[in-house]
Amino acid sequence: MSVVNKARLLSYIERVERLEEEKKAIADDIKDVKAEAKSAGFDVKMITKMIALRRLTPAERRLEKELTEIYEAACGLLDGTPLGDAARERLMKEEPNAEPAPEPPAHAEEVMRTVEEAREEGGEAFRAGVRIIDNPYTAGDPRRAAWDEGFCAASGSDGMDIPAAWRRKAKKPAKGDRRDDDGGVSAEAPASASDVDPDQEGLPFDDPQERGAEDKSDEGGDDWPLPPPGEPASDAPWKDPYAPSAAQPEGDAAERLDDLVKRTRRKQAETAATKEAAKRGPKSATKRGAKAPAKPRKSNAEGQP
């Protein structure tokens, strides 16, 4: 090998080596970011999954979801829940006369709530009578702050406002506190904090919205639309991988898949019939008919025995 070639070869080698080093550095950086996310309370496995999903186009994502569900069904991994809409639609598509499926719901993008969404949730929580300390986000998560701020903004207070149910209905006439004859007690003076404006009206908030007495009575927040922490939402786009898996149904996977396809087709025929009827009937029926196949899934997922 000539001297010139040797130099060139070395330069290639060195360039690759440098790039390898950079690759390692970047890999380390990624690891750090993941570690940071983990310590902020996020699930790194899910983050990785989200990154993979974001790499796909919406169509690819949909395909992935459909196939996952169909394969899960075949392997008996659906734990007794019916197929999701996407998978069912895919199975139907194989029928020549099946109508084109509607656009897929953008579940994957909804999974991670943004800071702004958390802020809105906080406002909603206030209106639903949730306690401010029942913030669903973990300490340090920027969404925890946003939720709290949203709550405060909706309540027009600092979150420690005396609930309307415990306040005087009408402003008491300026009767003042009963003072001791010797002037000993004067509890009326507000706290004179060193760096605090002692003015009673001095809080920088809008007028607190009157919060109905009934808001306060269900403070446990039973009607709070979010799932309690630790539980997956009932209409979760996929199942909680950490949930204890239910017993797998018995039987041959291929048979089950067949059965599934048959049942799905039957459902589809029913739907088509309803639609046909609806075309002739009043408009409201169309709507209900079209939605019918989605119903059993939802009610089943929510009211699991």
Partner: protein, 311 residues
Amino acid sequence: MSEPARTRKPDISAGLDQVEKFATILLPRDAEEPILAPGPRYAIYEWLTEIRARPDLESVGLKPRSTALLYGPPGTGKTTLAHHLAARLGLPLVTVQADRMTSKYMNESANNIGQLFDAIDKIKNGCVLFLDEFDSLGSKRSSSEHGTDKDRNLTLTTLLTRVEGFEGILLAATNRKEDLDTAMWRRFGMQISVDLPGSEERYAILKRYSLPFEFPDDALDTLADLTAGASPALLRQMMEGLKRSIVLAPRLKKPIDDVVEVFRGLVATTVPHPDVPQPHLWKKFDACAADLRTIPWPPERAPAEKKGGAK
């Protein structure tokens, strides 16, 4: 699963066992909303905002303040407020009874302080440190060279440096601010007064702790007037005592027909802290009897579904 961070919460109690020797751990979900005057409320809210704006502050070379001293009469809600702040941040409150840190052995108190702060630093997911009855550790330095005084000074110096260098969130509380060392006092980023409640707050506290029994607004006004100068803790004790006597009356065969006698019993058994001025109801009970008779008695009980709702 709709929200990974929600389904896989980090265990906020991890590492807390290291501090259990000195501390009681209060979890966020057990916090209550304190009923306070605007002053301390605003100070706490401002601090919360500051803590959350850490990145913005750091971008201009500032840091959020990390320490606050709560001072005020006993039973005004200092512990309750610290617990509420921690709960808003989603962190456990590590409550240290300061007198549990002191020891009669030489250097032992200073060692304890070192151990505590070291253990706090190791808590992975963070916590809020709360030093209650802080005056027992941070009382004024002495100039004498006597053994116990020297030890006391060492304790205080250790505390000064640890508080000053603390990176987390620390609150201390005292109801004897006069006793506190002045250098110690200055070490805190904030000094927040948690004072006795005013008329509005007393009304709300009386209402809250009288539930599910319902007194008309006028009756609560009367009680709020008669109890001017009472701490929230005393008001709570009084109203809970009232509920207790109503519920237990049939079992104890103790008649509760006379509202004045019921209150006389309550006032005799729930007494305000001797260091604070006595409210009217305690100081001149007989002069209050006529006002007490205007309270509709016995109180009505709210319908069942409301029971315990507003805690």
